[in-house]
């Protein structure tokens, strides 16, 4: 067993995402805050990526589990919905790890203006380089993939399909 970490932030920072295990919850921007209350309770704040993210329960349990193992007996994991999660919160480190894991990282998220949301009827202009061969010549197969946060693409150079964390 590894050495006991003393700062609860360091402990929470080691917990990985159940569906993107190459990333920590901190890399993903899902881990919003870790603080110790006056009574010693470690209060962890997380935010869901999508409203229907089925991994929230596992994330919560993983955080409690890791903190318990590190000796923090009282842990309170809270959810925050606002501001809504954005792929812009994925860290540079997280983007590198995604690419190394064969998943194309997201570009910049669209600006969320107030008022009506404009419709886009054309083919998606999203671009992503192939995380396997680096080619920029890729095409979208589907805007949706194995999890809510990813789209499915194919590289026209090496012909391999790959997933792309879509901007939100």
């Amino acid at each position: 067993m590894s050495a006991v970490l003393t700062d609860p932030r360091d402990v929470a920072g080691t917990v990985t995402d159940p569906e993107l295990p190459m990333l920590t919850l901190a890399d993903l921007g899902v881990l919003r805050d870790v603080r110790t209350a006056e009574d010693g309770t470690v209060v962890v704040t997380i935010t869901p990526t999508y409203s229907g993210c089925p991994a929230m329960g596992v994330m919560r349990a993983d955080l409690v589990h890791a903190l318990h193992r590190a000796g923090f007996a009282d842990v309170d994991v809270r959810t925050v919905l606002s501001p809504p999660w954005s792929t812009d919160w994925i860290s540079e480190d997280g983007r590198r790890k995604l690419a190394e894991g064969g998943i194309a990282p997201p570009g910049h998220a669209p600006v969320r203006a107030a008022g009506p949301v404009p419709l886009s009827l054309g083919p998606t202009r999203r671009t992503a380089s192939c995380p396997l061969c680096g080619s920029a010549d890729t095409e979208e197969l589907s805007e949706f993939s194995g999890t809510a946060c990813k789209a499915l693409r194919r590289c026209r150079t090496c012909r391999e399909p790959f997933e792309h964390v879509k901007e939100i």
Partner: protein, 303 residues
Amino acid sequence: MAHEETVYDALDTAHGGEGQWAFGTGFDDPLAGVDTTVPDGVDAADLGAYCLMLGDDALVLCQRLTEWATRSPELEEEVAIANCGLDLLGQARLLLARAGSAGVLGRSREHATDSIPDEDALAYFRDADEFVHHHLVEADGGDFAQTMVRLLVASTFRLALFAQLRESRDPVLSAIAAKGVPELTYHRDHAARWVLRLGDGTPESHRRAQAGVDAVWPLLADLFTATEVETRLTAAGVAVDPAGVREEVRGVLTMVLERATLAVPPWPTERPSPGRAGQHTAELAPLLATLQGLAREHPAATW
């Protein structure tokens, strides 16, 4: 204290060591740690009733979309439809939990035991006359073209509401809306592209898309007349008057249909929504039987 050795132990401990309520996720309160205090000057019963309306629209449409699982024209489309459904289910879960936190549970607790969370009690243990979604989402989906037309109409309406609900005085509703806007934007774009592709496609796809439009269009009649609850909550700065999104919805739909070379039917004569009053078509009963059957057959089952 003894510490868990596997994540499954952690999940079990998180639920009091008594296993999981089997039909919802049961692992956590979706609003855990969110301040669910009802804002000053807002009627809790109205707020709960409104969240139920928006939640039921999402829950029932999700159920219709999941009927495409294993039956979609191609695998990528099956995944896309399931993803749209999952987003809606997430929105429904948050909204039904919000309704429960505002004390609106209807008769669901007559059947649901205490161990069942509010949102699951509302989803699985209300009868048809307590559901308050629009007929638009409960209607049989028809073929793939009609499914995409319905998704276009429903997501256009919902996105227009949610875009305005981001400014709601209820911070929970406002947060749910802000999370939902980018999701619904994806759904609407996806459905619009399919309507374009089918309408401006082969004679057969055009025929089916037009039949889908003709079947779905009359259901627009119910969407834009505010209920008394919506009128009161709009005045309180919590809800959005659906009449206020009519022109946006009409504009988007007309643009898509025209680009898709589809005929835009005359606007239907508007009426108060029977669905919002708990009056439903015969199509709801089999839908609810599928949605609720297992949970009612084995109440409070754990695994």
